[in-house]
């Protein structure tokens, strides 16, 4: 799916649109067809109807053949709480019934999440263990913690950074040099793995970072934090002192899912 946008594309409607449909045929008015290429696959072009008026509506042009004066639109495609499906008249009108390919708030994502774990827990010996996040530090744009995982309200490309710290010598032995690493799972599948380290330190810090794509907002996709404990005979506790430093996940949307 790609969100396609053009410079300097706007005009008037050639036929009215009702205020009830979820999908409509849009008719572009005037003597010139829009300068859009044929839309393929799941790509779409966001259009704003009657911008600057109380009848503003954002629609997605989902089917269009280059040179044509009609296409298929999804009605009420964005921000329907403020701007639901409404009727649109047609020219001649000096003040309204205009369409424009323009940026919307969708194009300026401010979607981020920072959370951490404050509750003590152990990493199972010789296994990957889920580290549920239990405290949200900040969030915006619909990302929330749910049952220890991070759920997304908006599809997009996200930068993820995670940290964890473990007490490697919690059993009373000196740091042992066994191997540990931190991973990020997307909907149950490992997608990012951090440095695999067993350096002789206590506490031992682990990090993991990279980009992930979340193709569907809502509960379809979620991220979870995991750590691997390579100590063959011993569980290892997570270090939850200063949890906002030591056991965190930080996520920011870089771009909407285009």
């Amino acid at each position: 799916m790609a969100r396609i946008q053009y410079n300097n594309e706007s005009g008037f409607l050639g036929a009215p649109l009702n205020g009830t449909d979820t999908t409509s045929t849009i008719t572009f008015g005037g003597s010139y067809a829009p300068n859009f290429a044929t839309i393929t696959g799941t790509d779409y072009i966001p259009l704003v109807l009657d911008a600057g008026t109380q009848f503003m509506e954002i629609v997605w042009l989902t089917a269009y053949t280059a040179g044509n004066f009609t296409g298929t639109i999804t009605r009420g495609a964005e921000d329907t709480a403020h701007w639901p499906v409404v009727p649109h008249g047609q020219m001649p009108s000096a003040t309204g019934n205009k369409w424009a390919c323009a940026a919307t708030t969708w194009d300026f994502p401010q979607v981020s999440y920072m959370g951490y774990r404050t509750t003590a827990m152990n990493l199972t010996s010789s296994a990957m263990t889920n580290i549920p996040i239990d405290t949200t530090w900040s969030y915006s744009g619909g990302i929330v913690e749910f049952l220890g995982a991070i759920v997304f309200g908006t599809a997009g490309f996200y930068m993820v950074e995670a940290t964890a710290s473990i007490h490697e010598s919690a059993d009373g032995h000196s740091a042992n040099g066994y191997r540990y690493f931190l991973s990020v799972y997307q909907t149950g599948v490992e997608v990012l793995r951090g440095v695999d380290t067993g350096q002789l330190a206590d506490p031992l810090g682990l990090t993991c970072s990279g980009m992930v794509d979340i193709p569907v907002g809502g509960s379809a996709d979620y991220l979870s934090l995991y750590a691997y404990n390579g100590y063959p005979t011993q569980v290892v506790p997570i270090n939850v002192n200063s949890p906002q430093v030591n056991c965190t996940i930080r996520i920011a949307q870089i771009a909407p899912y285009n």
């Binding site: 410079n7 300097n8 706007s10 191997r179 991973s183 990012l192 440095v195 350096q199 990279g210």
Partner: protein, 257 residues
Amino acid sequence: MARLFYNNASGQLGATLGSSIGNTTITFATVPPFATVGSPDYIPLMVYGGLGTIYGFEIVYLTAYTAGNLTGTVLRQAEDSGNWLVSPHAAGSTWANVPTILDKTQVSWRGYRNAALNLANGTATLIPMDTANWTTGGAYALTISATQGLECNLTGWYQVNAAFGISKAYALDERYFASIQVSGSEWLRGDDRGTEDATGPAAGNNNDIWTASGLVYMVAGVDYIGFYGYNNSGSSSALAVGQPFLTRLDVTLMEVA
């Protein structure tokens, strides 16, 4: 290079801007609120007769301007020339310093190494990615190259995250590191460390990982990113491949220059 923007900067032309690509002097009707501009910085300007005008729309770059002046030098048809070619603009036409679709171009690539590859001992080896998880950016998308890595098609600052895994039975303290090169010059180096586990990797989760990440600047049509793995273990080392979380690379445009 910086792409400069000002709030509420628009006006009219004080003289005709001709139809030739060589007509590079722009004349403002009133003094714009710009500070002095010089290479490599520029200010993108849309010049047009009004929204919805079929002809006469053009994006130019103000590349040379002295604060307080009524004239400056522009690069004609600087963007989107497939749709909007150089065209004449009469005195009184509108100019505006506003974002264009270039400012929200989403260039991102992520992929991983699927085919087997060895890191030669005593040197840094290019790790070409051979499987894409995603590619975005249309005409500006990064281009995968087996010999260079990822080639840049839009000038700007890019966030890079890379990792490789080693899959071999190794001894303690064998040295590796991950490195990002831009056009053949090392730009980012990750943690330089030896292996810690003398027992070596077993199956499944036991592929040791090295990472490198940071920001790089690349010029379209000139620069490319190469992801390298340095091996000083004493022998050739096989990469851990075949999974998106093992030997991987992601590159994302953060800001257009």
